[in-house]
């Protein structure tokens, strides 16, 4: 029977060198379809490392990451990349859209990588642009846009190929409060609309509150947020 969890962490541990304490040990987590999770934690606690492990960009010292039921440690770099290409969408704090591509081209990148051809590619890109509210900007370049608009491009790019898992790393860190609120609402709406799952890494309690549940990452591992934060 297929694993109902989109993502499952089993006994996950990571340390950068043997003479240093572990970043985290024996993490356990299950993320189901349609679930939107926020992970909070202090700087340096390992949030970004966790994100890299979830996406198969880094290897754990022990334990397993199962994405759509596939143990990432059993795959080589190419296979992990191909799985990530299909099943994961990323949103970064620093946006990272390619300045030399138009808004439309940036959003269509994951479809290009997946080999989706016209007319489907054009249709899905247009739909995505419209759903994040930047359809009129499709032909423009990122450097001509505001921070909020650029982050919408990043969100559209992260979701255009309908990934099962959305990973957002401080997506509102560089935005003003109004743009931040719009972005968070958009992220949640898109995760729900695409029937996937999402993990939001953030320092902000307000941002975390947009998620279905909040976990805190600290030396003790991942634990649910208490009523007083």
């Amino acid at each position: 029977m297929a694993d109902p969890a989109v993502l499952r962490l089993e006994n996950l541990s990571k340390r950068y060198s043997p003479d240093r304490p572990a970043i985290f040990e024996r993490l356990e987590l299950e993320l189901r379809q349609g679930e939107y999770l926020a992970v909070m934690g202090e700087s340096g606690v390992g949030k970004s490392t966790l994100l890299n492990l979830l996406a198969g960009l880094d290897q754990p010292d022990s334990g397993r990451v199962l994405l759509e039921g596939t143990d990432l440690s059993t795959l080589d770099d190419d296979a992990v990349t191909l799985l990530r290409r299909r099943a994961v969408g990323f949103v970064f704090q620093a946006f990272h859209v390619l300045p030399y591509l138009s808004v439309r081209q940036n959003v269509a990148l994951p479809l290009d990588l997946l080999g989706v051809t016209e007319p489907e590619r054009g249709l899905r890109t247009a739909e995505m642009l419209a759903s994040v509210g930047i359809a009129p900007l499709a032909a423009r370049y990122a450097r001509e846009l505001s921070g909020g608009e650029v982050q919408r491009i990043a969100i559209a790019r992260a979701l255009v190929h309908r990934p099962r898992l959305l990973l957002a790393d401080e997506p509102t860190g560089n935005l003003d409060p109004r743009s931040a609120a719009q972005t968070l609402a958009l992220l949640r709406a898109q995760v729900k609309a695409n029937a996937g799952a999402g993990i939001l890494i953030t320092h902000s309690r307000a941002a975390a509150d947009t998620a279905d549940r909040i976990l805190v990452l600290d030396a003790g591992g991942l634990r649910p947020m208490g009523p007083h934060g």
Binding site: S48, N52, A55, L57, D58, D77, D78, T81, L82, R84, R85, R86, V88, G89, F90, F92, Q93, A94, H96, L98, P99, Y100, L101, Q105, L109, P110, D112, L113, L114, T117, Y141, R143, R157, A158, D169, N174
Partner: protein, 844 residues
């Protein structure tokens, strides 16, 4: 005195920026410094070697001419010594010294020994430095068949006092006793010194002289006397200032020396281009940091000065290193190659390097200024960039820069095209060089526009790797063209040189084939005044078994203009028709000549330098009389840059009565053995090794070897220029890849495979280098036309046929593109490491 505040500010920023650069990219700075150093070193070395050799050459000539005011010089066969008697009695002359100056053939040697026959007492007045060194007093020189040798000649011939020196006179050997060796300081080159009577006797020149040195009494105007004397001298005898003697010898090598200097300058400017390229890239890479400095209150001027200062600092370091390397290189060339930089005409035995402070300082300043100029444009552009625009990033306003540079580029191309057909200035292709500089700069200024145009034509392939690569190049066209510029400059120059050298080599090879149709060539030592075969000798040679045909030639030097080096007269072919046979003619008169006209075929150099025209008259001083010939054709002569004239032996014999010959061509009978025939030919004379016999194939191979050796240094300089250019590309690739680490990280996050990213970078590298190579090929071919048809012709006064070394260029092009792709891949691998994944977390 304290520094003004603004200057102090600029200095502080300069120091901060330079130290940061040193910390972040020491290798890049080091290579830039080395590139400048190489350019300065080459320029300085060529200068020091040539000036040392010229200085030594000048000193040697001065020793020979001594303290004469006027030198009366006649043809090698000389003039009657009665002229000396007349001149010595002239009231204006206070001292006169008769000289018989001959290049004497030695058995078994290809070169000759210069021998001066002098009257020791008279020469003691006019050539005291030469004569004063004779051990045992002047009377020692009077011993019959005695000769003094210079130290260099004694070493070269491995002779000591008392030994016998064999010389060839006519076709017979004669022995001279070495009376002593002149000290090293007396004369640095190879020389023999004899009593004039003994020399006249030994070399069958009784009653003949070919030089008289004159010193005038005080109060006489040397120029007035010389001009007046010139009008009363026999035909073929001239009166010249001693300086003319020196200049005449040196002028032979001038074009070669100037061309070498130009090549060294090319290396220096390629170094400057690397400074321009790396500084531009470094400014682009740091544009946000520089904009931040501007935002924090650094003025535009301070920033510009600080950035120019960066280039100047590289220039100072590079120039210092370059001057040191240049002196070392020059010292090595003088020590081990006797100052010969390839053409074999400017050997300077015993010359030592003289590092005059002013030229040394000039090279140091040149390197620094050139590097500062390289840094000036990027500094200016960085200072003018609005900070807000730079803080945002991107390179989108490049179209404006591209547009502006297009106008300047087109204008410079026009200037280049207009300059290229202009005639030489002072015998040098000054406008040709200026045309090349203008075309090169103009073409470089057009690179941005043409790159934008080429990229806009690139089709959308729906292959993400290729499409993203093209989009990246299109967006960052400024960055891309900067990295391309240095490789375009060096590659186009290399292409131009390769085409020129290949064309020359092909023409030379063809010329050799045309000129050497016979199976074997025999000749007396080149330039010898004493060795020849009499009519009887020629008859003896002609009867050797295995020979189906033998033809003899008489070659000798003629001084047509005292200010210029002598030209070579070649008497060949029994009749006029035979003389022109197998001559590599470029133009000839088809019309039959008037019945009384005697035809002569002149080389292109004679046409260019003396202005003789096809069908026009040419007067030759032969046997003391002016003989008029008609120019019946122009031929190509790669052996003699100073000019040559071919007439029939019949005409030569009629004019001079000289039936002798010193060169010959031999056609073997069917089945005859070349080695046996050679042995049979040698057996006809008492000294079998007295002349040279070579198969035409061996002579052709040897000639091509000499040709290749002459161009070896140009290949070395080209290779350095291309390595410098490739280094620029490599820096550009690695710094661009590093700057795009976050981009690669993001692409890895969204599922682009590592090899796809590397493939994208390789595509960018291949696309840009292919464009650069194609552009360089086009530009280089255009420049080669100027090298072939303008610079070569005006420098050496001979034409060559254009030939394209297609295979060589194809291999070079593919190698360069591959090297650029490998560089891009190598940079990409480093930039797509795990760090790249982390880089997405860096803001900037």
């Amino acid at each position: 005195m304290s520094m003004p505040r603004a200057a102090r500010g600029a200095f502080t920023i300069w120091r901060v920026l330079l130290l940061a650069q040193l910390r972040e990219s020491p290798a890049r700075l080091l290579v830039t410094v080395v590139a400048i150093a190489l350019g300065v070193a080459l320029g300085a070395a060529v200068y020091f070697v040539n000036s040392a050799a010229l200085n030594e050459f000048g000193l040697a000539t001065k020793r020979l001419v001594g303290e004469a005011d006027v030198v009366v010089r006649g043809p090698r066969e000389g003039f009657s010594e009665q002229l000396f008697t007349r001149l010595a009695r002239d009231a204006a002359v206070s001292a006169a010294s008769p000289v018989l100056e001959l290049d004497v053939a030695l058995p078994g040697r290809r070169d000759t020994l210069k021998v001066l026959g002098v009257d020791p007492f008279r020469a003691a007045t006019l050539q005291p430095a030469l004569i004063g060194d004779i051990g045992g007093g002047l009377f020692a020189l009077f011993q019959p068949n005695g000769i003094y040798l210079s130290s260099s000649a004694a070493q070269d011939l491995k002779l000591r006092r008392g030994d016998l020196l064999q010389v060839i006179v006519g076709s017979s050997p004669k022995a001279l006793r070495v009376l002593g060796i002149l000290s090293e300081g007396t004369y640095s080159r190879e020389l023999g010194l004899m009593d004039i009577a003994s020399a006249q006797w030994t070399f069958d020149q009784i009653g003949r002289l070919n030089r008289i040195d004159l010193r005038l009494s005080p109060g006489n105007d040397v120029d007035v006397f010389r001009r007046a004397l010139g009008q009363h001298l026999p035909v073929g005898v001239v009166a010249v200032a001693p300086q003319v003697e020196r200049d005449r010898a040196i002028s032979v090598t001038r074009a070669y020396r100037v061309n070498l200097n130009m090549l060294a300058l090319v290396a220096l400017w390629t170094g400057a281009f690397l400074v321009f390229s790396t500084q531009s890239l470094s400014v682009l890479r740091r544009r946000r940091a520089l904009a931040l400095l501007r935002a924090l209150g650094v003025t535009r001027g301070q920033l510009q000065r600080a950035l120019i200062g960066e280039g100047a600092a590289l220039g100072v370091a590079g120039s210092f290193l370059g001057v040191l390397l240049g002196v070392l290189f020059a010292a090595a060339v003088l020590r081990f190659l006797t100052g010969d930089l390839g053409n074999g005409q400017l050997r300077a035995v015993g010359a030592s390097i003289r590092t005059a402070p002013l030229p040394t300082l000039a090279f140091f300043v040149m390197g620094t200024v050139v590097a500062s100029i390289g840094a000036w444009l990027p500094a200016r552009s960085a200072a003018r960039q609005p900070p807000a625009r730079s803080l945002k990033g991107g390179d989108g306003d490049y179209a404006v820069v591209a547009r502006q540079s297009t106008y300047a580029g087109v204008a410079l191309l026009g200037v280049g095209a207009a300059l290229s057909p202009l005639p030489p200035m002072g015998g040098l292709p000054v406008f040709g060089y200026a045309a090349i500089a203008a075309l090169l700069l103009g073409a470089i200024l057009l690179v941005p526009t043409l790159t934008v145009k080429a990229l806009s034509l690139a089709p959308h392939t729906h292959r993400i790797v290729l499409d993203t690569a093209v989009a990246q190049l299109r967006e960052n066209v400024g960055l891309s063209t900067l990295s391309l510029a240095s490789i375009i400059v060096s590659f186009s120059l290399m292409v131009a040189m390769a085409i020129m050298v290949y064309s020359f080599r092909m023409s030379f090879d063809h010329w050799l084939g045309k000129l050497l149709p016979a199976d074997m060539q025999l000749r007396e030592p080149l330039g010898s005044d004493t060795a020849f075969w009499s009519a009887a000798d020629q008859a003896k040679l002609a009867t050797v078994a295995g020979i189906s045909r033998i033809e003899f030639r008489r070659t000798r030097l003629l001084l047509l203009d005292p200010e210029r080096p002598p030209v070579t007269l070649i008497a060949r072919g029994a009749t006029a028709a035979q003389a022109a046979e197998e001559l590599p003619l470029v133009r000839s008169d088809k019309l039959p000549l008037p019945s009384n006209a005697e035809p002569a075929w002149i080389s292109e150099a004679l046409q260019d330098l003396y202005g003789y025209k096809l069908g026009g008259p040419i007067d030759l001083p032969l046997a003391g009389r002016t003989q008029r010939f008609t120019v019946a054709g122009i031929w190509r002569d790669y052996a003699r840059t100073t000019g040559s004239i071919v007439i029939s032996r019949q005409a030569y014999l009629a004019a001079t009565g000289d039936a002798g010959a010193n060169e010959g061509s031999v056609w073997l009978s069917a089945g005859a053995n070349a080695a046996l025939t050679e042995a049979a030919l040698r057996s006809r004379f008492a000294r079998g090794d007295s002349f040279e016999i070579l198969t035409s194939t061996a002579l052709r191979e040897r000639s091509l070897q000499i040709f290749d050796r002459a161009f070896a240094i140009t290949y070395a300089l080209e290779a350095i220029a291309v390595i410098i250019g490739l280094t620029g590309v490599s820096f550009a690739a690695s710094s661009t890849a590093l700057a795009r680490r976050a981009e690669f990280g993001m692409l890895r996050h969204i599922g682009m495979l590592r090899r796809q990213i590397v493939g994208m970078l390789a595509s960018e590298g291949i696309l840009m280098s292919a464009f650069g190579v194609a552009y360089g090929l086009g530009l280089g071919t255009a420049l080669s036309l100027i090298l072939v048809y303008v610079i070569n012709r005006q420098s050496f006064n001979w034409s060559i046929d254009l030939a394209i070394p297609a295979w060589q260029l194809a291999v070079l092009s593919v190698t360069l593109i591959a090297a650029a792709a490998v560089t891009a891949v190598w940079s990409g691998r480093a930039a797509t490491s795990q760090d790249a994944v982390q880089a997405v977390r860096e803001d900037w």
